[in-house]
């Protein structure tokens, strides 16, 4: 037991070897439940029947522990609880709750396993459960990996059902009736004679009884909310300026802060703040990790003062210019640097492989529109932190290590997030805010990064390179041998959290090795490049680069075979739900219909996070450049919880994927990011945005999330469409290095 426990504590398990060592006892030991944190927060007359349902005489609160960064997480978590609890969403308040181990994410770790999501046999499922066990044991509360719905689908409905039955038991106690005679509707228990008892009036009674046993969950045919178009809970607030984000936090005596950080992420050698200290509104300037912080009475004044500091920066722990970064990737295609070879069908190594290509994908910033920020209030005995975050429990332990204050006394108040795309999986800004607030005990300090600091300090998407060698025979793809080189995302990201990553990093090949195709000679090799600039998860993670590499490589081979791009993908496909999304986009786009001389149509496909997603893009090769006309996308998540938000996530993901593919990159010169603001990092603007038509399918065997899977197939679909319209293959993102866009 000691070994697996040590591994679980110290490493974020990403390799098969370590996981399989834990089978025998892991599942048993890690099944130990975490306690419900809500009762400690209650006063008399209030009931916290499960960690997700809080009922007081004043109202009903549903706890939604997964962060909402725009993907609608709060609404979907609330709907899952409400469906079984029998409340309308306008009858409840939704709250992210305080971080607690019980809110661990069950669905996260298994996605890092080298098991194809299409593999549903017993051993694969057992390995998934074992991988998730340490996440449960450690109480790792993370939002990410498109897991909010798969993680909460049973858990949250079950919480609602337990709460409903407990309220019925409370009503039975109060009335002397049998629970079997009671029903529930719209936050009330209904008695046989039609009279009703509100849930809130039952809170005091419910608090005194044991939670009811879990009843069976309702069949989807009985659902009233789930599966039907919903109105998101945040829509009115977000349309009227009333939505408060972390950056809007207001507290009595609040001071404002800005930072000046080493753009090379090294140390400060020396600095001179003489002039800055005299500027209006400045309270103090002090050293923080990697730079300097300014506390002032207004954010703008703090930012102006930060700019007025002169600093000599220390060197970077990574190469100065892009040539060296690309060279490091290029040099990584060696036997010694093989990280994984999970796919090796047929004889790809020795087959004749006359068709070759090399692909590149650059570093990318997350750049959500709300710059990262955190507000901290430090006293001798407790710390309060207000911030938008996907990792509240990591923040507790990191701030505990920084300050010596116990994690129980570090209160993280999770805020609505103005976009993330993975940005809020990092917590450097919180450390900086606390470092500043420690110098002002008793006074809250809100730190806002300037947009320029946000770009400069981003832990970007990985840089990556791929090499394909292949062959075709008699109209079919015969051999596809794809090698992908990148540094380890998970090692870089989890390393900053003190979890050294063990084993191969499945993200190096995610979205490539696991694709549902039968090609006679088919191999995908991951090469682990040395660590370069620090990197992190960017919407769809490994698949954001690998979906482009794999699908474009396949498109080239299909073209060489003289086959139809859609028909050949369908012929090669060995997974029914994937085949159906390909067929769906064919039908939606009227694939095969004549487009004329100057137009072209391309298809892209990627299975990521267990979700097959196919995209068809139509472009015109106009005198002003490539114009995006129409996009058709189909994805299968097994079961769609809210078709309105599903459409938004697929459409948004595809637009996000195409926009970055067209014109975005982060490049380093003298080890500092050269792009400082949106004028150098535009992505999609309204005038460029095509019509997007989305179709959701429900053929998959289990429920999946949809925040990410729209991204990976978008870029290859666009590249393949440009090829169809122009005959030009684009093998490097951003595409505008090679072709002009309208």
């Amino acid at each position: 037991m000691g070994r697996i426990r040590t591994i679980a504590r110290r490493s974020f398990l990403i390799g098969s070897a370590a996981l399989l060592g834990g089978v025998a006892f892991g599942a048993v030991m890690y099944r130990r439940p975490h306690k419900n944190p809500l009762p400690e927060q209650l006063v008399a007359g209030e009931a916290a029947i499960t960690p997700y349902v809080l009922i007081t005489p004043d109202g009903i609160t549903l706890i939604a522990p997964r962060a909402d960064k725009g993907q609608g997480a709060y609404s979907v978590q609330a709907a899952l609880i409400a469906e079984e609890l029998d409340v309308r969403l306008d009858q409840v308040t939704v709250d992210p709750g305080l971080p607690a181990p019980v809110y661990y994410n069950t669905a996260l770790a298994s996605d890092l396993l080298p098991i194809r999501s299409t593999n549903t046999n017993y051993l694969a499922d057992l390995a998934r459960r074992v991988a998730d066990a340490p996440v449960k044991f450690l109480g790792i509360q993370i939002t990410g990996g498109s897991t909010t719905v798969p993680d909460g689908y049973d858990k949250l409905r079950h919480a609602g059902a337990v709460a409903r039955e407990t309220l019925k038991a409370a009503a039975a106690r109060k009335t002397g009736l049998d629970t079997a005679q009671l029903t529930t509707k719209d936050a009330h228990v209904v008695l046989p004679d039609g009279t009703t008892l509100s849930y809130t009036s039952l809170a005091a009674t419910a608090a005194g009884i044991e939670p009811a046993d879990a009843p069976a969950l309702r069949d989807p045919s009985e659902w009233r909310y789930l599966g039907k178009p919903m109105q998101r809970l945040d829509m009115v607030a977000k349309s009227t300026g009333a939505q408060e984000y972390g950056i809007d936090v207001q507290l009595p005596d609040l001071l404002h802060a800005a930072v000046r950080l080493n753009p090379r992420r090294g140390v400060v050698i020396s600095h001179d703040a003489t002039q800055a200290e005299t500027m209006r509104g400045v309270r103090s300037i002090l050293p923080i990790t990697g730079g300097l912080g300014v506390i002032a009475d207004n954010t703008w004044r703090a930012m102006q003062a930060a700019q007025a500091i002169t600093v000599e920066w220390g060197p970077a722990p990574y190469p100065a210019g892009m040539d060296a970064h690309w060279q490091a990737l290029s040099d990584s295609f060696t036997k010694e640097q093989i990280d994984s070879q999970y796919r090796d069908d047929g004889d790809a190594a020795v087959a004749e492989r006359p068709i070759t290509a090399e692909y590149r994908a650059p570093y990318l910033a997350h750049a959500p529109l709300e710059p990262i920020n955190a507000t901290a209030l430090v006293t001798d005995t407790r710390i309060d932190i207000w911030t938008g975050t996907q990792i509240p429990r990591f923040i507790q332990s990191n701030i505990s290590a920084l300050t010596g204050i116990d994690t129980d006394n570090i209160h993280v108040h999770v805020q609505m997030i103005g976009g993330s795309f993975g940005h809020r999986l990092e917590d450097q800004v919180v450390r900086h805010a606390v470092e500043l607030a420690m110098s002002m005990k008793g006074t809250p300090v809100k730190l806002t990064y300037s947009r320029e600091e946000d770009f400069a300090q981003d832990f970007t998407r990985q840089i990556a390179m791929a090499r394909m060698a292949g062959s075709v025979t008699s109209g079919n793809v015969e051999t596809c041998d794809l090698g992908i080189a990148m540094p380890s995302i998970i090692a870089s990201q989890m390393g900053r959290q003190g979890f050294p990553a063990a084993g191969p990093d499945t993200q190096i090949v995610a979205g490539a090795w696991d694709q549902p195709f039968d090609i006679p000679n088919y191999r995908v090799t991951g090469y682990r490049a040395p660590d370069l600039a620090p990197i992190s998860s960017w919407r769809s993670v490994g698949a954001s680069t690998n979906g482009f590499f794999h699908d474009c490589a396949l498109d080239e081979l299909i073209h060489a075979a003289g086959a139809d791009p859609l028909a050949e993908r369908i012929r090669l496909c060995n997974h029914a739900p994937s085949r159906k999304v390909l067929e769906a986009v064919g039908e939606m786009s009227d694939w095969g219909s004549d487009m004329g001389e100057t137009r072209g149509r391309g298809v892209g496909f990627c299975l990521s996070f267990g979700v097959p997603c196919a995209v068809v893009v139509e472009v015109t090769n106009s005198a002003q450049g490539i114009r995006l006309d129409k996009v058709f996308a189909a994805a299968d998540v097994g079961r769609i919880i809210d078709p309105v938000n599903f459409e938004a996530q697929v459409s948004g993901g595809v637009i996000f994927g195409m926009g970055h593919a067209i014109n975005c990159e982060i490049t380093y010169a003298d080890s500092a990011a050269q792009q400082t603001n949106y004028h150098q990092y535009e992505a999609m603007r309204l005038y460029q945005c095509p019509e997007v038509t989305v179709r959701g399918l429900e053929n998959g065997d289990r429920i999946r999330g949809i925040g990410e899977p729209g991204v990976p197939p978008a870029a290859p679909a666009l590249a393949n469409a440009i090829f169809a319209a122009t005959g030009q293959r684009i093998r490097e993102m951003p595409f505008n290095k090679h072709i002009r866009f309208v």
Binding site: M235, T240, G241, W300, L369, S450, A648, L686
Partner: protein
């Protein structure tokens, strides 16, 4: 320094170079206008000055000449502006951080062009950045709002 925001007179003690955005947010506590870029590239800070859309991050408060309206006074949850109602009907927002600026830009645009073409909508709103990719619903909502305003 005196300024009128959402019909209320305020007297603030700030230097004239301070951008209007930071007077609104940090001095007056009006947080509907958002800080996104600070260089008029994203439009999240858009407010109206005498009905004209203005990037408040680029307007020194000393140069302000007119009454300021922010998203909070365009309409309220109980009395929505037609553009806000259309935004809710079409469920436009994802993260929502850009939407104050999108809505303020769209409302000012529809004041001067009640029957816009698709190309005119694209032109009017392309300086407002949305990182989540809500553009198709923004387009649809602007059209709905135009129709709604023309009925009224």
């Amino acid at each position: 320094m005196k300024l009128t925001v959402n019909g209320t007179r305020h007297d603030v003690d700030v230097e004239p170079e301070m951008p209007l955005l930071w007077v609104l947010r940090d001095e007056l506590g009006i947080t509907g206008p958002k800080y996104g870029c600070g260089i008029a590239q994203c439009g999240a800070c858009t407010v109206h000055v005498d009905g004209q859309p203005v990037r408040s991050c680029q307007l020194p408060v000393g140069d302000l000449d007119g009454e300021v309206t922010t998203i909070e006074a365009l309409g309220t949850p109980d009395a929505l502006h037609a553009v806000q109602a259309a935004w809710i009907d079409h469920q436009v927002a994802q993260c929502g951080y850009c939407q104050s600026g999108q809505i303020m830009t769209a409302a000012a645009f529809l004041e001067v062009n009640a029957t816009p073409t698709d190309a005119e909508i694209d032109q009017a709103l392309s300086a407002n950045l949305c990182r989540c990719g809500t553009y198709p619903r923004i387009r649809a909502a602007v059209k709905s709002a135009a129709a709604r305003l023309n009925e009224a």
